[in-house]
Symmetry: C2
Subunit: 304 residues, 2 copies
């Protein structure tokens, strides 16, 4: 692991929207600023939680530019840039590099299923070659339940051999801790991020890089606390409390649940807006979410 | 069913590529012209078989314009326009209408899984409202194995109630004939297309609209023959022969297999080019494909 590698708590930032469901740039920048002030080491913007795939490429480019213009430091960013189409992935990745991003989180092309490691090797290679920039640091995005296109260890090994600098790590959203630990062991120096703060402590103890998490939009302060104290004896107790909050939130659909929590704690109901096919929680779902969350002693450290 | 509805044999046209994997416009138009001359009633361009999701929106718009400029009649087209992002789906759908397309084949937004009928209802409604054009005819694209986002009969019913003119039919690529027949029965006047010519005859007999098929790129003449003769006694025998060809082709990955067949029968090896994550067949896969296909007595009526 070099000093420049991304490490710590990265938030898969939510994207606030206007009434017409266009992205609200000012609110987005403000949320990102608040996350960094609340202890986030960085921001994995435009991921699953950021509804990136529900935005056009132009909308995503404009969101990235808006962060740059708002003074969010590029080195704090790990934007999601993986799409179904190589030219789009290249365009988004170039924009991330232009902003000075620490790296990009790259979904495999996710429309075709069962393409195998040869197809994914070809796709990632093609993107890396076309981007053609020594600064590129690719974090794979392994999210089998969402993409249905898993990233195998053999694929990682093959790509690491050919692109030892560009291939930097992975966000593992499989929920399978044993997979994360196996990668920490098999690929020294490869930045393994748990896709949920539920696994932050065990992944750090195994030499992993940290977590990139959706729920960190609202648990960022507690995540940061564990990252500061993970080598101390209170770490297990802190992780236990954080895990309870994570599990309470993921009892509902994650992105709508997080927007609902932001709306409640900020008092700004426009947080609830979400692009179809995602839908706001129904009233009884929101109540059930809040009941579960309140039972964990949850509080949002600062209003957004 | 009104007279203007799409009916018959629609080919999910392949997209030929240049050496740099950009779409080859001239070869695309030439292939489309050949398919129509070989008996296709229309062309479902830019679908799964056309590798649409591997192209940027701009590349897709340019491909549609290229067909218009080449004189392919708009009314013969049922372009695929469904993407993960509503603005992209709207842009592509408007272009299809501008060309005078008979309709569009619209995948649901396919990144988020398990979104439920409410989310899909909202997504399709949002697209139809934003397009805001009385000429719009939407054919759902039900392809659970590829999109992992199935189209339920309840969703169809709900959308038909609100948009009785815009909701025109479905391409059912589930491979489940009973699902196709159930829709023919439940939704009179709704254009049910089998997603494979394997089911062309039973779907026509149940009052369905025809087929929209990948393999029709190479079986188009035989498909057209069945569509001409489906009410005659030789129809079952014709369907039997056609089904054998379809099954032989789908013994390999479908899009690479079709490109391989086009290359062999046209003599133009550039047909093999394909965008990652799809990959050309390996030599032994191609041999196995050709052996299986030759055993059915297959011949491509005319060279492309």
């Amino acid at each position: 692991m070099t000093d420049s590698s991304a490490r710590g708590v990265y938030v898969a930032a939510l994207t606030p929207m206007n009434d017409d469901l266009s992205p609200n740039h000012a609110a987005f920048a403000s949320h990102c600023r608040w996350l960094l002030a609340s202890g986030a080491d960085g921001l994995a913007v435009l991921g699953t939680t950021g509804e990136a795939n529900s935005f056009s490429v132009d909308e995503r480019l404009a969101l990235l530019d808006a962060l740059g213009e708002a003074g969010i430091p590029g080195r704090a960013l790990l934007p999601g840039t993986g799409t179904c189409a190589i030219p789009d992935t290249v365009t988004l990745t170039r924009k991330a590099l232009e902003l000075g991003a620490a790296g990009v989180v790259m979904l495999p092309p996710f429309y075709y299923k069962g393409v195998g490691d040869d197809g994914l090797f070809a796709a990632y290679s093609e993107v890396i070659e076309r981007v053609g920039d020594d600064r590129l640091r690719v974090y794979f995005y392994h999210f089998p339940a969402q993409s249905n296109v898993p990233i195998s260890h053999d694929l990682i090994e093959r790509l690491l051999k050919v692109y030892p600098t560009a291939i930097a790590g992975i966000k593992d959203s499989s929920g399978d801790l044993s997979n994360m630990l196996a990668m920490c062991e098999r690929f020294p120096g490869f930045g393994v991020f748990a896709g949920s703060e539920q696994f932050l402590l065990p992944v750090l103890r195994a030499g992993g890089a940290g977590c990139i998490s959706a729920t960190a939009n609202v648990t960022v302060a507690a995540c940061a606390e564990i990252y500061r104290q993970w080598q101390k004896e209170q770490a297990d107790r802190l992780q236990e409390g954080l895990t309870a909050q994570r599990l309470a939130i993921q009892s509902q659909a994650l992105v709508p649940a997080l927007k609902q929590i932001m709306a409640r704690h900020s008092g700004d109901q426009s947080w609830i807006k979400i692009r179809p096919p995602l839908m706001p929680l129904a009233a009884e779902q929101a109540k059930s979410l809040f009941d579960a969350l309140d039972a964990t002693g949850f509080s949002l450290a600062r209003a957004a």
